[in-house]
């Protein structure tokens, strides 16, 4: 296996396989019992009746033949859904576990931050922990000593540096831990969402630090995150993983589109020709055919931009006083709010109709959201509403331009409300 001069990490056919199901029963006695029973052709006494047993062939490929080359000075983001293999990849690179097949080659030292504060010991002071943590990450005592002032300054913990870290707030803890890692002299830095902790200001400072390291010192940075904003800010290249395979490698914005597009691969429009994304409804009288964001090239909406939604459906029956509800939920699928329009359409059976809507999402905080479209009406004023059609909708991302970004923190909630009025 050869590497050219500029290349710092190269993987070839990297594969990691996990066996499904419990690995053994955990005690020697039970394992022997199971083995003996199997040998005599009897039933395993340690399997719950009716439980699904995994045979030898049941395996799960966390990484499936990954071949990547990363050059010196690159800032590579790795994104993908949970279980796509991101963390497994980082674990293999950091030598936490070993590959089932394939090779990894890297030049120089790797500093991995799969967790901040690994090996921090509560009884030791901040200063002692810097030495310990530095050594765990592969620095020698003299190296740490030469950098300790910079580390302490970066951590913003000067005052408490000789206090045992068990008395630290979680924020200080994270700051100190990150500072140690950021000052490592390693050629390759690996980070697994460590920036998700700590306050906004410190996060920004960390990202800036990582960028500077890559740009000025020619370090290579590998960064895994679910936060697309930090990926955008930090990375120069982005890899999208899905089911252990690389599905995209290249431009950051393009990669984020691929990732947010998800399994269908579409994020601007969707064709409901199969009923996969539809739900059973009470009166199946509307057949939603397609949806799109008309006049858009991506699904990102800035500040006061409205969502231009276009829905096309066919009436299965005569329709009167149709209503539509667009429900919005956040990335955890937790309902945020809904947009409603009542009695906007009536039509005859068999007719196909395309309708455009503008949805004002200026009150929605920044982040990624899921939507759901529900058509409904009621047969008469006195009867309750009934669902005619319900379907999973297109996702969208709300973005704030710099001016508005700090006005509303994501942690306050997903709906931006008006200012409080002063009362007499």
């Amino acid at each position: 296996m050869n590497m050219n001069d500029n290349c710092v990490i190269k993987t070839e056919n990297l594969t990691k396989e996990y066996r499904l199901g419990a690995i053994g029963t955990g005690t020697l006695r039970h394992d022997l019992q199971s083995w003996y029973a199997k040998k005599r052709g009897k039933q395993d006494p340690n399997v719950r009746i009716g439980a699904k047993t995994y045979e030898k062939g049941d395996r799960f490929l966390a990484l499936d033949g990954l071949s990547i080359e990363i050059n010196r000075g690159e800032r590579v983001g790795i994104i993908g859904a949970n279980g796509a293999g991101k963390s497994t990849f980082l674990k293999l690179l950091s030598r936490i576990t070993s590959p089932t097949d394939g090779n990894i080659m890297f030049k120089g030292r790797i500093a991995s931050m799969l967790e901040v504060g690994t090996g921090f010991h509560g009884e030791l002071t901040g200063r002692e922990n810097i030495y310990l943590n530095g050594a765990i990450l592969g620095m020698s005592k003299t190296e740490v000593a030469s950098k300790i002032d910079k580390i302490i300054e970066f951590s913003e913990c000067e005052k408490f540096i000789d206090t045992p870290v068990k008395r630290y707030s979680s924020g200080m803890f994270v700051k100190l831990a990150f500072s140690v890692a950021a000052h490592l002299d390693a050629e390759i830095m690996i980070m697994d969402e460590v920036l998700a902790v700590g306050d906004m200001q410190f996060q920004k400072k960390c990202i800036k630090k990582m960028r500077d390291l890559a740009l000025n010192d020619n370090r290579t940075v590998l960064y895994v995150s679910h936060n697309m904003n930090t990926i955008r800010e930090l990375c120069s290249r982005c890899i999208v993983l899905q089911h252990g395979k690389m599905i995209y490698d290249g431009d950051v914005d393009e990669a984020i589109k691929v990732y947010l597009g998800g399994e269908q691969g579409d994020f601007l429009s969707h064709d409901y020709s199969d009923s996969k994304h539809k739900e059973p409804s009470e009166r199946n009288e509307i057949n939603l055919k397609s949806v799109k964001y008309y006049g858009k090239t991506d699904n990102i909406f800035n500040d006061n931009e409205k969502i231009p939604l276009e829905l096309t459906w066919q009436n299965k029956e005569d329709i009167k006083n149709l209503c539509l509800r667009v429900e919005v939920s956040d990335y955890r699928r937790f309902p945020v709010t809904a947009f409603v329009i009542e009695n906007f359409y009536s039509g005859k059976k068999g007719e196909e109709h395309t309708q455009r809507f503008n949805i004002d999402i200026s009150r929605i905080a920044r982040g990624g959201y899921y939507t759901r479209y529900v058509f409904y009406n009621r047969k008469s004023e006195v009867l309750p509403f009934e669902t005619l059609e319900a379907a999973a909708g297109l996702r969208f991302r709300k973005r704030m331009t710099d001016k508005n970004e700090n006005r509303w923190q994501k942690s306050w909630g997903s709906v931006i409300m008006d200012e409080i009025e002063l009362a007499e």
Partner: protein, 280 residues
């Protein structure tokens, strides 16, 4: 500082692939772990490091009362307190090396799951930590030997004390070797932990700690001396107190067993460390 050395991680496993150079690079970490543990052991205790001495003193006292006074086991004419103390401190050095390394994987799983460093750093720092404790106890023992000697008791240190560093090394490596094997197996089978905790106590009674080998009936004496810890304890006692059994033959057998256990332990340990994190 530019470091362009190329590292290759491959799916293939090599037998006995110890990278001593790498461990040497992590020597600061070894010492920091030792420091951490020393500091942590006596944090928020009133007597602090005094416990290192109090512990063997009390144990020796109990041994003296039970085995010496009540059971009246002969100590080959050696003052009882010295006799029991010699066996006790050496045994506890051996057993703490064993205990500590036997939990290497399980008690460090969290750390090992997040960061890489040569895993052997842990048992090595364990040996050093235990060696420091032992040397403090040994110092006290030495003072007692001198006091007894000049008070005219039957205590005769001899030239074999030159073997002391070797004996100490052998005891620690033997304990650690067993510990490495146990720690590798316990990643999958936790029940071995239970075995270790009472097994070590039973093992002590099969070792001439509370009795001299001369008191063991001829028929099973060979058996007792084949226990690899027995010659170490007996030689140690013979060197500093001047009575007991010392035979090169058994010491060499013990040495051979130590080497075998240690090498086997490292092989198993290196085999398991690669992906134990997936099973633990």
């Amino acid at each position: 500082m530019k470091n362009d050395s190329i590292t290759i991680i491959s799916s293939k496993r090599k037998i006995l692939n110890i990278n001593l150079k790498e461990i040497w690079q992590y020597r600061d970490l070894v010492m920091l772990f030792v420091k951490r543990d020393l500091k942590n052991s006596y944090k928020q205790t009133i007597l602090g490091p005094l416990w290192i001495i109090i512990n063997p003193f009390l144990t020796t006292l109990v041994f003296t009362v039970i085995f010496g006074v009540i059971a009246n086991i002969s100590t080959d004419g050696i003052p009882q307190f010295l006799f029991y103390m010699s066996g006790n401190i050496l045994w506890s050095f051996f057993s703490s090396c064993l205990n500590r390394s036997s939990s290497t994987f399980l008690s460090n799983a969290r750390l090992f799951g997040k960061v890489y460093f040569p895993r052997l750093v842990m048992p090595i720092s364990g040996i050093i930590y235990n060696a420091i404790t032992f040397l403090v106890q040994f110092g006290v023992f030495l003072i007692l030997v001198l006091i007894y000697m000049f008070s005219g008791f039957n205590v005769h240190p001899n030239l074999l004390i030159l073997l002391f560093p070797a004996l100490m090394l052998q005891a620690s490596l033997l304990g650690t070797g067993f510990g490495l094997i146990i720690s590798s197996v316990t990643t999958k089978y936790r029940d071995l932990n239970v075995l270790v905790s009472f097994g070590v106590t039973l093992w002590m009674y099969l070792t001439p700690v509370v009795y001299p080998t001369s008191q063991v009936p001829e028929s099973i004496r060979t058996l007792i001396m084949l226990n690899p810890v027995a010659p170490i304890v007996e030689t140690f006692r013979y060197a500093f107190l001047g009575s007991g059994t010392f035979e090169w033959f058994y010491l060499l057998i013990s040495l051979f067993v130590t080497a075998a256990v240690l090498i086997f332990g490292i092989i198993v340990f290196k085999y398991v460390e690669k992906d134990f994190i997936d099973t633990v």
